[in-house]
């Protein structure tokens, strides 16, 4: 396929590497490099979406407030993007980075608008539409060299629909997601972007989760082509929190039970051996706070 000089330059020019997007999540020097895929896996209420907002904010915020100033495409497959929550996190991060009492409301607005203009949101309602949208995004990728991150929430949204449509043959069931994964692989190689995707768990664990082993319910269930693409897997879970005694120091009436979430990262990219890292965080009004 022929491409113009400008397109070639845009494609090969180094997009911002996202290795340092969140060093507390990934193992030592093991952040997602160019062309790598990170999968966030967990049941409902384990903080995946909050983590996604945290990473999104880190990407779109200006460098002065601790961001990376890159463009992000958010592919929303199940209408789970809560813009109001995202904006409240962005607001609190912008305010935290600014010295007190210095700016008027208008510059707040302008800063927020410029952050949000780096975000592109696409809604998909079926895996065929997802495939076509990824093809369409190829043109956006070639015209926007600042676009370094593709967020998919969630890649498993059409799992049951595809399984039913595919009938009895497993190959047919996995066909559409396989094609999407193949296309994603090509986009990753050609344009050197990074992809973060959430995957909902479909089985509940009934046993006590032990720290290092992966139980029955955490096994990946999407098609093989997708599993081969994934180089970092973040297993999110909720910790059974004991009553936070520190919060009730001094006999305050409100005993806040801070729900602690844990993330277990398994990195298995080709250049390194498998590495692991566990981290915990809790969720505040201003977003994710690591412990």
């Amino acid at each position: 396929m022929t491409e113009s000089g400008a397109q070639l330059f845009a494609r090969l020019e180094a997009r911002r590497c996202l290795k340092d997007i969140e060093p507390r999540l990934f193992p030592e020097d093991g952040g997602p490099n160019h062309g790598e895929v990170v999968e966030l896996y967990g049941t409902e209420g384990t903080g995946k979406t909050e983590l996604l907002y945290h990473l999104l904010c880190r990407c779109v915020l200006p460098v002065a407030t601790g961001g990376l100033e890159v463009d992000v495409v958010f592919v929303d497959t199940d209408y789970s993007l809560d813009m109001l929550r995202l904006v409240s996190i962005l607001d609190s991060r912008l305010n935290a980075g600014r010295p007190t009492g210095s700016s008027a409301a208008s510059s707040d607005e302008a800063a927020l608008r410029s952050c949000l203009s780096r975000l592109l949101v696409v809604h998909c309602s079926s895996s065929s539409q997802l495939l076509l949208t990824l093809h369409f995004l190829e043109t956006s990728l070639s015209s926007r060299p600042g676009l370094a991150l593709l967020l998919i929430d969630s890649i498993s949204a059409f799992y049951w629909l595809d399984r039913c449509e595919g009938g009895a043959s497993i190959a047919k069931q996995e066909e559409k997601l396989s094609k999407c994964a193949e296309l994603l692989g090509r986009l990753l190689r050609d344009y050197r972007i990074t992809v973060f995707a959430t995957c909902h768990a479909i089985r509940r664990s009934y046993s006590e989760p032990s720290s290092a082993s992966t139980s029955e319910c955490d096994r990946p269930y999407l098609c093989r082509r997708w599993q081969r693409l994934v180089s970092h897997r973040l297993l999110c879970s909720k910790q059974e929190s004991a009553n936070n005694m520190a919060a009730s120091a001094g006999g305050s009436k409100e005993q806040r039970r801070q729900q602690v979430f844990t993330v277990h990262c398994t990195s298995s990219s080709s250049s390194r051996t498998k590495a692991h890292r566990s981290s915990s965080f809790y969720v505040t009004d201003g977003g994710v706070e690591f412990i």
Binding site: M1, R113, S117, L132, W160
Partner: protein, 332 residues
């Protein structure tokens, strides 16, 4: 999966279609994913023409990306928070039902889910003067109960009738009719219902688990697929028409014995906000109307906020007379 057909876009005529089919390109996805140069050679058509067709089809069938700033502006102007009419319940829900989202109420039998739905419907139709779509799958809705609740709001029969007219009721008992109903609402009936008295602000489905739970389990995937289709249609309707979707769900016991909402793990990702209703344990009167609402999933508030509220709130006498009203037994 859209199949290629004649006239879909300029340049896609019968001849080209036949040669494409011979090259095993039958759907839009096949055309878009295939190598255009090779395909042009196989079908002996110019590369430029095929490329142009691909571009038009792509533009027709893909979702269009929206900038975050525009999306936020649009949300600010269109999202509304609809109060449920009960201040304790509103506190749990962060001031009410948000439009564009699905809110789920789960609870065991007798926990008051249907009563809350009736109360919300009456509040929206009488106090807010907006229309409500009520999809009843259990047969528990009677107009007499709604009228009873309205009679405590006002004694003017004309106002009562007007408010009742703003509640549109659909009675269905299986998932296919539910899907049909939701599709027909999306393609026009919602606008029809808005004519003559307030736009539709809420779609209440009581209960969604009654039609889906019988299909789950076993080795068939069709039940799960239907559940996801219902969820998808509800969400798109909520987003496109700016309505608040309220659904009810039953409960089951988890492995460790605690109560959890039904319909499984795959459904748990669907609603944006989930509230669990329970009877209040330490009720002194056996037929107490107090219920507790616990927030079990929310993107805005910390979970496990609990509030106790009175089911009689929506039928309390508002015209200053003393004494509690007794909840009548539901008609058989």
């Amino acid at each position: 999966m859209a199949g290629l057909s004649e006239g879909m876009c300029p340049g896609l005529d019968e001849v080209l279609l036949r040669s494409l089919r011979a090259a095993d390109v039958k759907t839009v996805e096949d055309l878009v994913s295939s190598d255009i140069e090779e395909l042009a050679r196989k079908c002996s058509v110019s590369y430029k023409a095929l490329f142009a067709i691909r571009r038009v089809l792509l533009a027709q069938h893909t979702a269009f990306p929206v900038s975050g700033a525009d999306l936020y502006e649009e949300l600010l102007s269109s999202t509304a928070i609809i109060s449920t009419g009960n201040p304790s319940l509103d506190k749990v829900l962060d001031s009410g039902l948000y439009t564009g989202e699905i809110t789920e109420l789960s609870g065991g039998p007798g926990s008051g889910k249907s009563q809350v739905c009736f109360g919300v419907a009456v509040h929206i139709s009488y106090q807010l003067k907006q229309s409500v779509i009520f999809i009843d799958t259990t047969g528990g809705l009677t107009a007499r109960r709604l009228l009873q609740m309205l009679q405590t709001e006002t004694s003017n029969t004309e106002e009562q009738m007007e408010a009742l007219q703003r509640i549109h009721i659909f009675r269905l008992f299986d998932v296919y009719s539910l899907l049909d109903c939701l599709h027909s609402l999306r393609s026009g009936r919602l606008q029809q219902a808005s004519v003559g008295g307030g736009s539709v602000k809420a779609v209440i489905v009581d209960s969604v688990s009654a039609v889906i739970a019988p299909l789950l389990g076993g080795k068939q995937n069709e039940g799960m697929s239907l559940m996801i289709q219902v969820a998808g249609t509800l969400k798109t309707m909520a987003k496109d028409f700016n309505v608040a979707a309220l659904v009810t769900n039953h409960v089951t016991r988890s492995g460790s014995g605690e109560v959890q909402p039904g319909l499984g793990v795959s459904w748990s990702h669907i609603p944006r906000t989930r509230v669990l209703l329970e009877q209040v344990e330490k009720a002194l009167v056996s037929q107490s109307t107090l219920r507790s609402a616990t927030l079990i999933k929310s993107s805005r508030q910390p979970c496990h906020i609990k509030e106790v509220f009175d089911l009689q709130w929506w039928s309390r006498s508002k015209e200053g007379s003393s004494g509690k009203r007794k909840l009548d037994e539901t008609d058989s």
